[in-house]
């Protein structure tokens, strides 16, 4: 829990200012009573008598001491969809019954109670009030939130003490994961130990063959049934189990489509980030080493492939840092420098809306250098039908300022989709599979095909 505190302690009454309410009551009462007395109009005096009483009551109970406020906001790192809590501890002197705090609203945070305003009744004798507001984080990312303005008011709203605005706190909202499962192993296991069947034989679990016993064979591997039948000692030979380096490459040059947070519309980057989290969790649980490269975002350091659950947290943290299109320099330079870090022989899963030509070109290059490359298409399905896009959806894809530009933008997007289809066909023709992200089982068929292709003999460049 991170504390974002802003405490104001003041002596005396300097912090208490009269509100327009008390000024109104006093001025109206005095002027009208004067007119009533001078004009011998008892009815006028009666008309403003309540205002005079309210003014006198407010001034008689004017608070004498300054209040103080302390706030906390936490947790400062949470998965999207979960809630953090803003808590304010307000110490009020006697005669300060009304406490209110207004939180700054944020498009990707939702107050669970439906309001950004917290109100409390301190009562006449209570010395402190605690106000709490659970706030749900709706979208992954890094945010500065929790700014608030507290105010405490005296009786009848006569005097008010305003605090300095409470500053913001940085909150990291980790991406949630879309459900993903795969029953298919990886095509090019290159590690030491793992869950994938190796091309070579060794001490694994997957049956390969039965052969005569030889020096060095473990007795546990002796197949007694076959040995009895053949009268010679036979052992079961297994495939070695190896792990794979899976590198998840996220194309963050563009973020296409409108985003509505958890449960709402998903942009291309939302899909990519959540799919990356799901893939990372799945493959890390399966014992693979998983790394992360983000193209097009400047503040995300590359993560080399490692195993273990701590790597999942590193990947989520890296994904939460993504701000699309913030890369410095040209797209090609940034992409080339990052992809040069890839370990040879690994599996590269490129999550992209297939809009950036740079990412596609690098996918070609990686495939040529012997990586197993799989492109996962993250463009929202709604964006594929240019004719049916609403103006809001179209603006989320290609921002425009003038509504007259809608037909032109729609036409341009249609042409871009045609170009994209051509690019995808060329990619497929070059042997790089492209699959749209559809959650569980999205990659099974294509990984199975890649496994078969990996086992088949092929011509290698020397």
């Amino acid at each position: 829990m991170t504390v974002a505190a802003d405490s104001v302690e003041e002596d005396g009454r300097s912090g208490w200012l009269p509100t327009p309410n008390v000024v109104r009551a006093v001025s109206v009462a005095l002027v009208t009573m004067s007119v009533g007395v001078l004009g011998r109009r008892a009815d006028l005096v009666i008309l403003v008598l309540p205002l005079a009483v309210v003014a006198a009551w407010s001034m008689a109970t004017r608070p004498r001491h300054a209040p103080s406020v302390r706030t906390t906001l936490g947790p400062t790192a949470l998965p999207e969809g979960n809630a953090l809590t803003f808590t304010a501890f307000v110490s009020v002197p006697a005669g300060v019954p009304d406490v209110a705090i207004v939180l700054a609203s944020d498009p990707f945070f939702d107050p669970v109670d439906g309001t950004w305003t917290l109100c409390a009744d301190a009562g006449p004798d209570v010395g402190s009030v605690t106000l709490a507001a659970p706030i749900a984080a709706r979208r992954w990312g890094r945010y500065r939130t929790g700014a608030a303005v507290p105010a405490v008011t005296g009786i009848f709203g006569g005097f008010r003490h305003s605090f300095r605005p409470i500053g913001e706190t940085e909150v990291v909202v980790l991406p949630g994961k879309e459900s993903f499962a795969s029953r298919t192993g990886m095509p090019h296991p290159r590690g030491i130990v793992g869950a994938n069947r190796s091309p070579r034989r060794g001490q694994g679990n997957d049956f390969a063959a039965i052969r005569p016993y030889g020096p060095g064979d473990r007795l546990a591997r002796v197949n007694w049934a076959v040995s009895t039948r053949t009268a010679t000692l036979q052992v079961s030979e297994m495939h070695a189990d190896l792990d794979t380096a899976v590198t998840l490459v996220v194309d963050a040059f563009h973020d296409l489509g409108s985003t509505g947070g958890v449960g709402g519309a998903a942009s291309s980057l939302d899909t990519a980030v959540r799919a990356t989290t799901a893939l990372a969790e799945h493959y890390l649980r399966a014992g693979e080493r998983v790394g992360l490269l983000v193209l097009g975002a400047s503040d995300v350091p590359p993560l080399t492939a490692r195993s273990g659950q701590a790597q999942l947290r590193r990947i989520q943290d890296g994904l939460a840092r993504i701000v699309p299109g913030t890369v410095r320099g040209g797209e090609d330079d940034a992409t080339g420098a990052l992809l040069a870090r890839l370990q040879p022989g690994g599996v590269v899963l490129l999550l992209t809306p297939v809009i950036s030509a740079s990412a596609l070109n690098r996918a070609y290059a990686l495939a040529r250098f012997g990586h197993t490359v799989l492109i996962i298409d993250t463009l929202p399905p709604a964006a594929l039908t240019a004719g049916r896009l609403t103006a809001e959806d179209l603006a989320a894809i290609a921002p425009f300022t003038n509504p007259r530009a809608i037909p032109t933008t729609r036409l341009a997007w249609r042409i871009r989709l045609l170009e994209r289809e051509g690019q995808l066909q060329r990619v497929r023709a070059s042997g790089i599979p492209v699959v749209p992200w559809r959650g569980p089982g999205s990659l099974d068929e294509v990984l199975r095909q890649l496994q078969r292709r990996a086992r088949a003999p092929r011509v290698a460049r020397r």
Partner: protein, 181 residues
Amino acid sequence: MSIREDVAAALTQEGRDHLRLRIGLVCASIAAAIVTSAASGAARPTGVGVLFTLALLAALVPDGHIPTILIGGHLVFWFMTVPRPTSAAAIAPAVVTAILLLAVHLFAAAATVWPPGGRIPRSAARRWLRQGGAVALATIAVGGLTALLVAAPLPAGTLVSLAAVAALGAGAIAAYRLIAR
């Protein structure tokens, strides 16, 4: 978004409790204008209309000077249209209008104390009602006393008038010093 959606969104953002405060302000103001009109003995559609417009403006912006102008407008309307009370019964409309003006003031004050969108704690609403009720009871008591005085008028005296003016002056100075401190 259409105008209807804009208005619906604005009302939603204001919150139900704030909406009630503003509606209460307008209703109290209209009631005060009607009572004044009735006390004057004639229909005053122009005055009521002007006060209704002012009430709407005050409900839209309760934290500015418009509520002050609204209450001032009510007082001017009363002063211009209602004759000086000559019987005990003539004090009753003044007491009712005074309580309604108190309601206008308190609704406007509450709308500035509680930010829009928030839920006003029930205990706070009850406290405001209790304290406002106490002020209203005091007004009724003073109104009753005044009705008795009007029914049996005391002989006019310059000394009493001067004392009242001096008390008002002292009150004004004391209020100014308290506020300015």
